[in-house]
């Protein structure tokens, strides 16, 4: 009897919280819509200018921004916007993680969308390309990952190392943290992300590159669908306030 009563109370609290969370979401959406309507910026070019204008006070170095899509449906248009904003903010690499692998299947559509937004056409950014070279300066290295790149990627490396040890190319004593770090970072083709933006209410890595997420600061956006550039810049500002102590 008492147990049932506790359950009823818990369900009621969850329902109240559901209503509150939904109201808060709608309120925020309305505010964002109002701000965007009144103050802009409108259009990708204006958005990029906005990022450029607002990145001056950001003092922390940032080479890689990772975006974890979580359970959201992929929106190519918004991924292109975020990729270009991230690059404008100074990140050479921007990666998008969709554990289900649906985003990877949209690679050609994404390439096409990126191409149509970038000028001049002679330097076309391609996803999961340009592991080396100058693309990071002129255009972002856009990388797409799914669940097979995380732990499974490390398992693949372990298997290769076993084969190398059998072929006497290495011994097990060669394997240390520095050695493995170089291989894992090289295989993934990206440095450790300083900033990980996750979409939705729940914070989880969803299996995002485990080796890479050691010092990543995880910050939320409510959704990547129609995300506003103001929200993006506010995430950068929050990131800028995070202090790294690295154990000391």
């Amino acid at each position: 009897m008492a147990v049932n009563l506790f359950k009823v109370v818990l369900v009621v609290i969850h329902v109240i919280f559901d209503i509150y969370a939904e109201a808060r979401r709608l309120f925020r959406y309305a505010i964002q819509y109002f701000e965007d309507f009144c103050f802009g910026p409108w259009g990708l070019k204006a958005e990029l200018d906005y990022v450029h204008r607002n990145k001056a006070p950001l003092t922390k170095p940032m080479s890689h921004i990772a975006v974890i899509l979580g359970s959201e449906v992929v929106s190519i248009k918004d991924i292109v916007r975020i990729a270009l904003w991230s690059h404008a903010a100074g990140a050479s690499y921007v990666s998008f993680y969709d554990h289900s692998g649906k985003l990877k299947k949209c690679k050609s559509a994404l390439d096409e969308a990126l191409t149509s937004e970038c000028q001049p056409k002679s330097h076309i950014p391609r996803t999961n390309g340009y592991k080396n070279g100058i693309a990071g300066k002129q255009y972002p290295h856009v990388m797409l990952f799914d669940i097979t790149d995380g732990k499974a990627g490390i398992a693949r490396i372990a298997r290769e190392l076993c084969e190398k040890a059998l072929a006497k190319e290495i011994t097990h004593n060669d394997i240390n943290l520095k050695f493995l770090n170089e291989i894992v970072l090289r295989e993934a083709g990206v440095p450790e992300p300083e900033l990980g933006i996750y979409c939705g209410d729940i914070c989880s890595t969803y299996g995002f590159l485990p080796w890479h997420s050691r010092i990543t600061e995880f910050l939320p956006i409510s959704s990547h669908h129609n995300v506003s550039v103001r929200t993006f810049v506010s995430v950068l500002r929050r990131f800028n306030k995070c202090e790294q102590r690295l154990g000391t």
């Binding site: 818990l10 979580g70 289900s100 372990a158 190392l161 394997i175 729940i202 989880s204 485990p210 600061e217």
Partner: protein, 297 residues
Amino acid sequence: MSWIRDNTLTWIQKMAVHVVGSGQVPQHVAFIMDGNRRYAKKHKVQKIEGHSKGFDRLAETLHWCLELGIKEVTVYAFSIENFKRTKEEIDALMDLARQKFQRLLDETDKLMEHGVHIRVIGNLDLLPVDLQKMMAKAMFVTKNNSRAVLNIAYAYTAREEITQCVKQTVEGVVDGVLSPPNVNQNLLSKTLYTNHSPTPDLLIRTSGEVRLSDFLLWQVSCSCVYFTDVLWPDFTVWHLLAAVFYYQRNHQQLKDASLLEKRSDEKSTNQGEDFVDYVNLKRQQWLSLHANLEVTS
């Protein structure tokens, strides 16, 4: 202060624990207990005082977890990166650990009565030998308990754990115990320091930091992560209940990812299982060897 606390909850807190506990409760919760030093600074006391307060909070938290029905808890007590701190602070932390593990060994009866299984995860070879022996003894004495499990990550980082795991796999292949086609994600998961634990359902980090700091990076792939601003020594049962409530609201969303991970993972092979047994046997040998040596503090 004792590891096993008597009830410290007020009646209203008890009711709240019953209410939240009547829903889905995470079976395994991991904690990054951050903020001891900031607490010390805030209260103008020595750093070690902050750490000591942090331990007291841990003992209480373990009690709350048991009350809620959380069966397994993993705590990040000391990172390998912490060896970069001043010698004075490291020495004080090692002394605190000695004192707490001695206390734990003194109250073995209580641990047995509550059925608490203690495991220390990390590269224990990096620690002073007397501390290694105390830890080994605590693990050895409680190894058959199963009502509740406390994993203490000491001299731990996830990258070091993965490195050791890959290294021992390669060693196994060279020794002829294993062949490369049997090496997969499943095998690596079963030979990490945490191989006897289910993956955490919920990870709680205190003190407002929003990163994982090299803790259980492999294991938390499908866990709910909860960041809270409170400093660890100020952590209360209300913060724990808020974290569990957050888990209850969100854990369904992670089921897909968890299923996908299981589906994409290759099954372990017979030879792989033999290798897992081989690794476990080696660890047990280390444990009984160290546990049976006289503890000198």
